[in-house]
């Protein structure tokens, strides 16, 4: 039996604003992937929303390119918005 394609699973929890990568699974198609994700990754009542995506559809940065990709931002502390106070009533910051 040829194995089913790999899917990556993203779940949004009740109190979270964004979907978080939680793992992967195998499924024959998108619909089965969604069902399998429900069964594998929300058994403990973690989620209110699930995204699945074929792993082959994800374009990822390569570890070889790590330095040119990420090192140039390492010394630019002024890009962090740490020089002003955030009012208490501004949520999700």
């Amino acid at each position: 039996m040829t194995s089913w394609p790999l899917y990556e699973v993203f779940v949004r929890g009740k109190r979270c604003l964004n979907h978080v990568h939680v793992g992967s699974l195998h499924a024959a198609d998108d619909e089965m992937a969604l069902h399998n994700a429900r069964d594998l990754y929300t058994r403990r009542n973690e989620g209110v929303s699930i995204w699945v995506v074929r792993a082959s559809n994800i374009t990822a940065s390569s570890p070889d390119e790590k330095d040119p990709f990420f090192a140039p931002s390492g010394d630019k502390v002024y890009r962090h918005p740490t020089f002003y106070d955030i009012p208490d009533d501004v949520p999700h910051m």
């Binding site: 929890g13 939680v22 195998h26 619909e31 594998l40």
Partner: protein, 274 residues
């Protein structure tokens, strides 16, 4: 928020998952289990026992697929469904015991354990459909029939007079809707698949069908809904709805074997705790 892993963030402060207690000692804890004066306690208890035994034996059948399903993902899915049904069995056996304590075997166990582990095959009230075992296509046909019937039944029971049974039904409806969806998806996938998968799926459906009429002996009011759902699934799956006569009435030869496995530890070590 800082968490060691993504899961912690998702589950943080999420007490709903323990809605049914952490001790698991009494599934009906906190509920008023007085039988309404307009309800016959003996009939209620027997009905709950019947529904509870269906769930208990079907749950056991589904557990057989752990380590045996075609894919790991489906093993987990089938185990989840089995656990949902085990939960229904616990609530229903406890409800039966509270409504009519004379049903419970006189052993020093909790009511639900006494009913599950200390009755013999002839005392089980389950429909024979749930005792049967077969290949994966058979299991999906069995689950489709079982969950379609039970979902229709529970939907009607949500407005029943006994508030405890109504609450158990209301909880079960959401679970059964998923079970039916899961089974229907596989029936359509296999039926409308290759000629070989269609042949196997039709054979599974044909093997289940002699056990369908029994389901409606006490629940003729949901037959029409059952027929229409099954017809819809079969049409999408390019399968024939079988026409066959009912199988013989007795428990199948499977039940004593299921019970021997399920009950052996509890009977050998009656004082054991989990």
């Amino acid at each position: 928020m800082s968490f060691d892993n993504a899961y912690e963030a998702l589950t943080e402060d999420n007490d709903a998952r323990w809605a049914f207690g952490t001790g698991f000692a009494d599934p009906l804890a906190g509920m008023d289990t007085t039988v309404p004066s307009t309800v016959d306690a003996t009939s209620l208890a027997e009905y709950c026992l019947h529904l509870g035994d269906d769930a208990l034996i079907m749950s056991h059948r589904l557990q057989d697929w752990c380590t045996a399903a075609p894919e790991l993902e489906d093993e987990v899915a089938l185990a989840n469904i089995g656990l949902d049904l085990l939960g229904q069995a616990r609530l229903l056996l406890s409800r039966a015991a509270r409504a009519d304590p004379s049903l419970v075997p006189p052993v020093p166990q909790s009511e639900e354990d006494a009913l599950a582990f200390f009755r013999d095959a002839h005392e089980f009230r389950n429909v024979r459909l749930v005792e049967l075992a077969g290949d994966f296509a058979f299991a999906m046909a069995q689950l489709l029939v079982f969950s379609t019937w039970r979902l229709a039944l529970f939907t009607a029971l949500v407005s029943t007079e006994d508030k405890v049974l109504a609450a158990i039904a209301a909880k079960g409806v959401k679970e059964l809707a998923y079970h039916r969806d899961y089974a229907a998806q596989w029936v359509v996938r296999l039926g409308d698949g290759t000629p070989y998968s269609q042949e196997r799926m039709q054979a599974g459906l044909d093997a289940v069908w002699p056990y369908v009429d029994e389901l409606f002996e006490d629940s003729a009011h949901v037959r029409a809904e059952f027929d229409s759902v099954v017809a819809e699934v079969c049409e999408a799956a390019t399968l024939r709805v079988p026409v066959v006569v009912m199988a013989p009435r007795e428990h199948t030869e499977h039940l004593p074997a299921i019970l021997a496995e399920m009950q052996s530890v509890a009977r050998e070590h009656p004082d054991a705790t989990c």
